[in-house]
């Protein structure tokens, strides 16, 4: 099922950009806590959009409730700060009536995977042409520090003083189970990587799901640090590259191979036959390939970042328009009188 030879086309930003980052900055004062990871995400999004010449009026940012859901107010585009968990459903209606818009759903681990998990799953399985930024800080920030669906079991928070009992959800597993056609992970502390992933998502036709590790400096500071800090990241992060082994380590000398369907860390030898290693294939339509990658987690394995999956199928909005066109071809344009009068009438003189 895989096609390792074929390399993904990198997004080609327009040569003479019409916009700069500041064109996407709205006048509203940004009110996240100083040091919040959302600042760099906002900056990366503004930076990325400025690389494309998509008319500014065609962007719509739709969010739910939570710290990150204030995002639309800070973008000088169309924006809709909706209600808790419902942003994917609002975006669905918008995308159905105007598929030409570039629609970005901003959600978090509470908004997207607690109250709104249903809508998130259904938006992805329908493959609407929308981009979902799933900003994961493993905590409820806006309600001031309760554990979230992605918090680790045993997490001590205000609502779990003796440790949370809930087993966490891995957001990427939900995206894969819903067969989202573009699935990626990036992190707030690497704006360059974020920007590359955001650009790929923008170019993708269909639902893009991007998990962004975000640091909540107030309620869950440094929760990702064991993986992403300057000291640890070489050994504990893998930047995925299509068609290549999963190389990591400060000396780029370690990689992953599959043994009995389980991952195994081995030394990487550039001269060896790469077929012996796990080769990343983002175009694999089988979901077990990206799912395998989601299971590489701290502390046993390095964690992958980058594009887990990028496949093409028809989008919901395309199918909706095509169905209408097909019915019109068959029946012709609707005639109002025929509709109102129906199949059978009678006259009273």
């Amino acid at each position: 099922m895989s096609s390792n030879e074929e390399k993904p086309i990198p997004p080609v930003p327009d040569a003479q950009p019409l916009y700069t980052r500041t064109d996407f900055v709205s006048g509203q004062e940004v009110r996240w806590c100083p040091g919040c990871g959302n600042y760099s995400i906002l900056g990366a999004v503004q930076q990325t959009l400025a690389k494309f010449n998509t008319p500014k009026e065609n962007y719509v940012f739709v969010s739910g409730i939570g710290c990150s859901s204030r995002f639309p107010y800070y973008m000088n585009t169309y924006g809709f700060h909706t209600i808790h968990g419902r942003a994917p459903a609002v975006a669905t209606g918008l995308c159905c009536v105007n598929p030409h818009l570039s629609i970005w759903v901003i959600t978090g681990d509470g908004d997207g995977l607690s109250i709104g998990s249903n809508h998130l799953v259904h938006a992805m399985r329908r493959n609407l042409d929308i981009n979902i930024l799933f900003i994961n800080n493993q905590i409820y920030g806006l309600t001031k520090g309760q554990y979230s669906p992605t918090s680790l079991q045993g997490k001590i928070t205000k609502s779990s003083p003796y440790g949370s009992l809930d087993h966490p959800i891995n957001p990427l597993c939900i995206a894969i189970a819903s067969e989202a056609t573009f699935i990626a992970r990036t992190l707030d502390s690497d704006p360059r990587h974020m920007s590359q992933i955001l650009a790929r998502a923008k170019e993708h036709k269909g639902t893009s799901f991007i998990e962004i590790f975000q640091n909540c400096i107030i309620f869950n500071d440094k929760t990702f640090a064991p993986v992403t800090s300057r000291e640890t990241r070489d050994d504990r992060m893998i930047y995925l590259e299509h068609g290549k082994p999963l190389i990591f380590g400060a000396k780029k000398n370690k990689t992953i191979k599959v043994k009995n369907l389980h991952p195994e860390i081995v030394d990487y030898d550039p001269a060896a036959d790469p077929a012996g290693y796990f080769i990343h294939d983002e175009k694999d339509v089988w979901p077990h390939h990206p799912y395998f990658l989601t299971q590489l987690t701290y502390p046993d394995f390095p964690m992958p970042f980058g594009v887990f999956r990028c496949v093409q199928t028809s989008t919901y909005d395309q199918l909706m328009d095509k169905q209408i066109a097909d019915v019109k071809d068959k029946r012709g344009d609707g005639n109002l009188k025929d509709l109102i009068y129906g199949k059978e009438t009678w006259k009273i003189e």
Binding site: P72, F80, I83, R86, A89, V97, I324, L336, Y341, E349
Partner: protein, 612 residues
Amino acid sequence: MSTHPQKILSSSTILFAGDSGDGMQLAGDQFTDTTGVMGNDFATFPNFPAEIRAPLGTLPGVSSFQIQFSDTNIYTHGDMADVLVAINPAALKVNLNKVKPGGLIVLNENAFNETDYKRAAWASDPLTDGTLNDFQVLKVPVTDLTKNALKDIPLKISEIERCKNFFVLGMMFWLYARNFDHTIDWIQTKFAARPEIVNANIAALKAGHNYAETTETIVPAQTHIHKAKMDPGTYRKISGNNALAIGLITAAHLSEKTLFYASYPITPASEILHELSEHKEFKVKTFQAEDEIAAMAAAIGAAFGGELSATSTSGPGMCLKSEGLNLAVMTELPIVIVDVQRAGPSTGMPTKIEQADLLQAMYGRNGESPVAVLAPKTPSDCFDMALEAVRLSVKYMSPVILLSDAYLANSSEPWKLPDTDKLPKIKLTHPTAGKNPFLPYARDPKTLARAWAKPGTPGLEHRIGGLSKADLTGNVSYDPDNHEKMIRFRAEKIQLMSNDIPLLKVRGPESGKLLVLGWGSTYGVIHQAVSEITEEGHKISQAHLNYLNPFPKNLQDILKNFKTILIPELNTGHLNVLIKNRFPETKTEGYNRMRGVPFQTMELKQKIKEML
């Protein structure tokens, strides 16, 4: 040919009843279609269980279809039936109290063995124990006769037995001197892929017809009901749900918009989704959402996108939609929310009628959340009120709730069709960029509506949401004075709609002792009761509200001309609460029933007489 006595009646009521799998709705529908084509006025009442197939022969499984048809205008499906067709003992048990004394009961004799009547909770055999002494009873071995008529048709015995409904339909066609050509055409089209089914159904229909004509049993007179003296025009049969769907498509057409309709299946509203999803040729975009909440949210997204947006549900779904509805209130987006009310609370009785969502529609949300509330009064009025709901929602940039109910949804009547070329356009505009910065919450001075800016329009980029909005800019605001100002704007906007809706009309004297005030689907039965009482020489008036929020401007003037206002409702008195609250000086009295069935004319008459 036998020569039966013939009689001419002004109107008659037939009640078809059987197991929910016996095809009684289909028989009723076919009888109705033919009756319409023959020029009678009619009103129907399909009454069926929520279960698709309850256990065979039991009381909960009984499904019935009542039609009153007439040579003059009628307004109800009839209190009591002249003819009951009962396919089994359960159907007889459930419906015996709906037959007029001396009425005709046509029974399927084959279904009255001991096991069958015991399963239907009859203590002894109702055919022999005197239960039916007050009625004319026609015992017909419907099962045997159907089998016999179809013996040469290569079908399974279960399929043959399923043709019983056409046998009894054939009998009724003869009894009421109806032509069966229309039903034969329908069978031929419907079952075109299976010729043996076409042959079987036609054979059963004709066998029933011939049996009624030639049997030597005591068959009453063949009854003729002449064409009705109705307004001249072209008519069709219409149910409320179909009228509503057609109304929404028409509104989209008249406003040159795409109709986006998001819904989650729920009884008794699903037919609207079914009907709309048939009509892609009108560029209708139907979306079956993952739940009620998503349907509401998607409708909001589509309205934000600048298209005509609607959703539908029933009571339980209305609860789930209320959060989204409030977002539509706060963001001032035009959406039509159809609530086809059913008996509650909770799951209640999904297929049965109640009018108990009115106060929820008015007040069932957090915060100060005024919404326009409209209610159609007859099946065909669902078309007009769908147009009205759209017109008001886009003109005033506000969600509008349309309260239909289970009775309007399923019952049908002749609809005098409008001249489609003369339907007024629904005018709406979307702004484009001007010299000054765009203010998403600037208001039209007449309507207080904000502008409907479509994403994709250059220069109008703006943000909206559920947080409190600053006047003009729509920016997030916690300013105390601004918050109150915006609450008052939204309330005033709804009240301003009263400049734009028809005045309430009074039928009967403009003043007097008693006005009967109703809303929604009780129109027909109130009309009937008031007419009959007027004919008996009493002075009494009727008014019926299509607009519940805001009320028509002249409502207060009308109310003060009457000593007492009787408000019959299928709830504990929701309109009564609204009237007393708004016009405390008005003396009102409620007549309130919550049995899951429409009012009967006679109970309303009795109540009115007590008050005269």
